[in-house]
């Protein structure tokens, strides 16, 4: 593992901030285990994908410029989501391509930005963790992390070191779960068909827990699993790796 102690800024993502803060704390924990000093810049809201993917380039650029400002001066920006990390590292430079004042800053920002799993393994050289989880888990590869950023083997490598955990590969793990940001509410019938196929595949693995690296996909799959009466739990992979699995799983009730 690398010996210098880099300054890392956590881009929490709006969904983690609003719906599942434990993922943010798990990310902080993992980054600290990887020898980083972690900060959370206050002036962050969202990465801008809702605007960018709705064709609203003007608002997407405004939000992107705001994020680049807020994360100035850190060695790395780390994101517990492949989708948002892809936005920051692949699409910000694209947004400012024709803007001489911002193009270099956006490229520099993009170079410093990583998805959490890729950062831990590829940048920090983490090979394993001191964590335990009793159960059979399966793993869904979220699309942007997989295809935009090449996140595939890193979470599997870390999960392999978790005591008591057995990973059962999910057939069709690389097929979209049907979330797609606003897609799932704009085209609910199609999205439902896709997530239905996905949860059927998850059920067939016999796993008791489904993990992924993106909260959007997880909320979609968890919501479908609970709606269909399944007892399979859904968690962000960082929760398991950081040993923070005392909270109820996504969409699971809390005993009073």
């Amino acid at each position: 593992m690398s010996t210098t102690r880099p300054e890392v800024a956590l881009f929490v993502t709006c969904l983690v901030d609003l719906f599942r803060p434990v993922v943010g704390f798990a990310a902080v924990e993992l980054l600290e285990q990887a020898g980083c000093t972690v900060s959370v810049p206050e002036a962050q809201t969202c990465c801008g994908q809702p605007a960018f993917n709705s064709g609203d380039r003007v608002d997407a650029k405004t939000v992107a410029a705001q994020v680049i400002d807020a994360f100035e001066g850190f060695d790395y920006i780390v994101v517990p989501s492949g989708s948002c990390a892809g936005m920051l590292s692949k699409h910000y430079p694209e947004l400012f391509e024709d803007d001489p004042a911002m193009a270099d800053r956006a490229r520099d920002f993009a170079r410093r930005t990583y998805e959490l799993m890729a950062f831990l393994v590829d940048v920090r050289g983490m090979t394993g963790l001191d964590a335990a989880y009793n159960g059979n888990v399966t793993y869904h590869d979220s699309c942007s992390g997989l295809r935009e950023l090449g996140v595939k083997q890193q979470p599997r490598q870390l999960l392999a070191s978790v005591e008591g955990l057995t990973l059962i590969e999910l057939p069709g793990a690389e097929r979209c779960c049907g979330f797609g940001g606003t897609f799932c509410v704009k085209y609910p019938d199609i999205s439902n068909n896709m997530v239905g196929d996905k949860t059927t595949d998850i059920e067939k693995t016999g796993a008791d827990t489904v993990l992924a690296g993106d909260l959007g996909c997880l909320m979609n799959m968890a919501g479908k699993l609970t709606r269909t009466g399944s007892s399979i739990r859904a968690r962000h992979v960082a929760e398991v790796l950081a040993g923070m699995t005392d909270d109820p799983a996504i969409g699971e009730g809390q005993p009073e």
């Binding site: 704390f25 993917n53 609203d56 699309c143 942007s144 295809r147 509410v185 609970t226 009730g253």
Partner: protein, 477 residues
């Protein structure tokens, strides 16, 4: 062709409820997808070949005028004719005039998406010329009076029982009690019927997978050999193709052919790859007396130099739709025009306008699987996003969607206000959902909760909790 693209959502709902269609679509993941992956894995230089293919097409498109004129000159040198058609109307009229010059009654047709784009069959029928599709899939859907639902597997949505029904209904000369349960029986019957049609046809019309500038040849690939009979037996062969099908050399065509079948069906090569150059020469054993190429523009030339020019690299392999989860859910007809799947979601707004086709580039999760398998490395999600931007600029998106986006943008640009408002809303939702951990319905989230629960937030935002710890870092939430 009749367009139902505006009704995409209704089309999709109908398709999702069609159990026959759904069982047909389910086979794609185990067929096309697995076969393509295996074919790509067997060829070590496959990824390098994709780069080469992209570069060949980019080069050609940058010098399209030159290569098209070279192609024309070499077609003429071989004794053939080239006809330039700016619009579908022009293309139809050119083809009709050629057919009428020999007083054609029937024409046989090889598979051609351009013929679909220009609505050729309907037009010929209106003018008392009977077009007969000779590709088995195309023949089936012609009998069923419907458009193709896939660019290389036009009848992928039809079950074999439905094929048998169509044959029983159409082939009334045959014994009505015959069994058509086995696929082989269907194949034998279609073959026997079509054989005579080839011999009777006055004109054969094919598409072209490639046009080769240096030789003036048109190239078709098929797995049935129907294209060869279509283009060699009648007196006249007409190849109808769009401008961007041209490539400079034979070598370029063979590089692209190595990509085409692997990407499409997972074959190393299609069963038949046929090069046509000019009409029959005196020493040829067979071939047509006349060879015509109809070159369709239909707005393509205007795309050169624009942001969507990359769509012109497409070689129509169909890999994008084979791998698309949306196509896999709704099939091809839901898209409502000629080209379905991701390539259709870009081509359709390009060719018939973004107002008509607004839904198609929107109905994508941007999962990126299409771009990952496109042999020509066309950035399909990026091009779909381009049309979303166009629709947004032209205010074609629904008012509620625009209002929601405006509200989001207002908050996202104001981190202080955002933190305060989000904290408040999340605290309420967290308290309401704490016990069950989820919501079965919420008034403002019915699009979500119609089909799935909404997981409840944990209670406080991350930002609130982080601030409360006053920057203290450590374990536990």
């Amino acid at each position: 062709m009749k367009t139902t693209t505006r009704q995409f959502k209704d089309n999709a709902r109908t398709a999702l409820a069609d159990t026959g269609l759904q069982s047909a679509l389910d086979k794609m993941e185990t067929g096309f997808v697995v076969n393509r992956a295996n074919a790509a894995a067997r060829l070590p230089e496959f990824e390098a070949l994709r780069d080469q293919g992209r570069d060949i097409k980019n080069h050609t498109l940058e010098h399209l005028d030159f290569y098209l004129e070279t192609f024309e000159a070499n077609v003429q040198k071989a004794g053939g004719h080239v006809h330039w058609a700016a619009t579908p109307e022009d293309a139809r009229q050119i083809i009709l005039d050629i057919c009428r010059s020999v007083d054609a009654k029937t024409v046989t047709k090889g598979k051609s998406m351009i013929a679909e784009e220009i609505g050729l069959n309907e037009f010929l029928e209106e003018n008392d010329i009977a077009p007969i599709e000779t590709d088995l899939g195309e023949y089936i859907i012609q009998l069923r009076n419907e458009p193709p639902s896939h660019i290389i597997a036009p009848a992928i949505h039809v079950l074999k029982e439905q094929v048998a029904d169509a044959f029983h209904e159409a082939h009334t000369d045959l014994d009505p009690g015959r069994s058509l349960e086995e696929p082989q029986a269907l194949l034998d019957e279609a073959r026997a019927i079509l054989r005579q049609k080839y011999l009777d046809a006055d004109v054969g019309i094919t598409g072209a997978n490639f046009l080769i500038a240096e030789t003036g040849s048109s190239v078709i690939v098929t797995n049935e050999g129907n294209g060869d009979l279509t283009q060699t037996l009648p007196k006249i062969h007409i190849a109808v193709a769009s401008l961007e099908k041209v490539v400079p050399t034979l070598e370029d065509a063979s590089a692209l052919l190595r990509l085409l079948a692997r990407s499409a069906t997972g074959q190393e090569f299609s069963s038949y790859t046929t090069f046509s150059t000019g009409p029959r020469r005196p020493e040829d054993p067979d071939g047509p007396e006349q060879y015509h190429v109809v070159l369709l523009d239909n707005g393509r030339a205007d795309l050169l130099g624009t942001e969507v020019r990359e769509v012109l690299r497409c070689i129509r392999c169909g890999a994008c739709m084979n791998h698309c989860p949306v196509y896999g859910a709704v099939g091809g007809h839901a898209y409502g025009w000629v080209y379905p799947g991701p390539i259709g979601s870009v081509l359709t707004p390009t060719l018939i306008g973004v107002e008509e086709a607004r839904h198609l580039p929107n109905a994508s999760t941007f999962c990126g699987r299409c771009e990952a398998v496109c042999p020509m490395r066309i950035p399909l999600p990026k091009l779909m996003r381009h049309y979303r931007e166009k629709a947004h600029e032209e205010k074609l998106t629904p008012a509620a969607e625009r209002a929601g986006l405006g509200l989001w943008a207002f908050a996202a640009r104001r981190p202080g206000l955002y933190r305060w408002a989000a904290g408040l809303v999340i605290r309420v939702l967290g308290a309401l959902g704490r016990r069950r951990g989820r919501f079965a319905s919420l008034p403002f989230a019915s699009g979500w909760t119609r089909y799935r629960d909404l997981p409840a937030p944990q209670g406080q935002t991350f930002q609130q909790q982080w601030a409360a710890r006053n920057g203290r870092r450590g374990r536990g939430a």
